[in-house]
Amino acid sequence: MIRARHIVLALGLWLAALPAGAEELVAGLSQNYVGINASFDGSEILIFGAVRRDSPPPDAAPLEVVITVSGPLVPVTVRRKERRFGIWVNTDAVVLPGAPSFYAVSTTGPLAEVLSPTADIGHRIGLSQAIRPASAENLPEDTPAFTEALIRLRAQDMLYQVDEGGVILDRDTLFRTSIRLPANLTEGRYSARIFLTRDGAIIDQHETAIDVRKVGLERFLFTLAHEQPLVYALLSLAIAMLAGWGASVAFRYIRA
């Protein structure tokens, strides 16, 4: 009897902490810091977590998980070539005010099935939502084609990734996915978002930051180039002249 009372008490506390029938997300990352050093060759981030719930999962619709990792938003100019006077030159251009430098979506199933369009637009989850639209002045008629082209170009460089079915969900409770960060990564504050959905609607979400920074020599050179450009330029020249002079001396030495 005593044991039963304990269980009831524990359950009572549990229920007090969670609204009835709720499912809560607990998540973690394998790392929240990525250092780009001289030998940086890409990195892999493991995102995992569990669903905490007070009652057996509702039977209605299956639980789904959507995970996104986004780099900082940077303006991008997309240009299109056209044939003019026999040669191919850039003609139309669209400036997209903010496109993530990196974007990955990983889900438990096809994005269109696990996420309703409203939720997709509201939280800017899908790739075409994550890119901020161009401001509407002097735009070519087919502006969406430019956004699609950007997605295609960046997907080739592994900078934009969509992995439908990339999230493994175990016993409706534990989930995990791994996201590959390519070698041509730019630095900045990245964010990882995790959404729990049921029937296309978001029932809980979690966001956490990943800091991607150049470190060591890379950090030093980049900072020097931007903050002390003259010193940096003189350093480049000094290296060049030293190498040229050194080669001439070595050459004479070998010849003699």
Binding site: N90, S236, M241
Partner: protein
């Protein structure tokens, strides 16, 4: 071994860069040119952003030209006064070129200007060189007396005449300044030293003796390329020191190998090979302009946006 380039912001195989620098170094040692006209398009092909390739290349030119100049200074084959006059034009031309690149980048036509400059200049110099060396080869087979021409062109009619003792010339400073300006501008736009334009211009336009041409052109090229590096680094932030270092390292070693290889070949054969190489590079770039590209869209972000 992959290496991350801090300014270009991408990861490239270090041995690929050393190898590229080395191969171009061998060719530059063999033919006596800076090799920039080859290296810059090669860097485009492996995906280095054009603005970075052009700016970084200029510092590579400094390295390869300096070792050549030191040898020529020892033999007193450098017309320092002429070099200085060319330099006046060269530095202003270099400034104009850097400004032109920055302005064209705004409207997205840098790639076009750089590629067009390459196609035209490589096509013209490659064609002329091939023609001239084939003629030389034919002449060497059946030796005849060559008519010696004396030139009395525009060069002698212009004012502001100055005596250039080492070259044995008494000409106006206007043509050398103009030649210097043009080469300086090309150096900034194309990321080349301009040796392959400067040398013919000195011989055929200014009438300088062949003996002093190479050393004098190297003298002014070092200053122009150095100044170009400085301007690119301070206005466009596009000099990638890591990229430059690997290319230079491969380049100076390759140049030594190339100089030895050159001793085993006849000069006419060398020039024909160089001409064919120049035409090949120019032809490839030209075809890319004319043929429908695989991808008509391109995306650019401002380089090195602080975040």
């Amino acid at each position: 071994m992959q290496i991350y380039l801090p300014i270009a912001e991408l990861s490239v195989n270090a041995f690929l860069l050393l190898g590229l620098g080395g191969i171009v170094g061998i060719l530059s040692g063999m033919f006596g040119v800076g090799g920039g006209f080859l290296l810059t398009p090669l860097l485009f092909f492996i995906g280095i952003p054009p603005a970075v390739a052009v700016a970084t290349q200029a510092s590579h030119v400094v390295a390869s030209s300096l070792s050549g100049l030191l040898a020529h200074l020892k033999r007193r084959n450098v017309d320092i006064r002429m070099g200085m006059v060319l330099l006046v034009g060269g530095l202003s031309g270099s400034g104009a070129g850097v400004w032109l690149i920055a302005a064209l980048r705004e409207i997205g036509q840098v790639d076009l200007l750089v590629t067009l400059s390459y196609v035209v200049l490589l096509g013209v110099t490659g064609g002329l060189m091939l023609w001239e060396s084939v003629l030389a080869l034919i002449r060497s087979r059946n030796p005849q007396t060559r008519p010696k021409r004396r030139r009395h062109g525009l060069v002698h009619a212009l004012p502001l005449k100055v005596r250039f003792r080492t070259s044995g010339l008494y000409i106006s400073v206007i043509p050398p300044v103009l030649v210097g300006f043009f080469v300086g501008m090309m150096a900034a736009v194309m990321g080349v030293g301009g040796g392959f334009i400067m040398i013919p211009a000195m011989i055929y336009i200014l009438g300088m003796p062949t003996k002093v041409v190479v050393g004098t052109s190297l003298l002014q090229i070092i200053f122009v390329a150095g100044f170009t590096t400085l301007l690119h680094a301070t206005t466009n932030y596009t000099v990638d020191i890591m990229l430059a270092f690997l290319l230079i390292l491969g380049g100076v070693i390759g140049a030594q190998v190339g100089t030895r290889l050159a001793l085993r070949l006849r000069p006419e054969q060398l020039r024909i090979m160089l001409a064919l190489l120049v035409l090949l590079v120019g032809g490839k770039l030209g075809l890319d302009l004319v043929l429908p590209p695989d991808e008509i869209y391109s995306a650019t972000t401002p380089l090195g946006v602080p975040s």
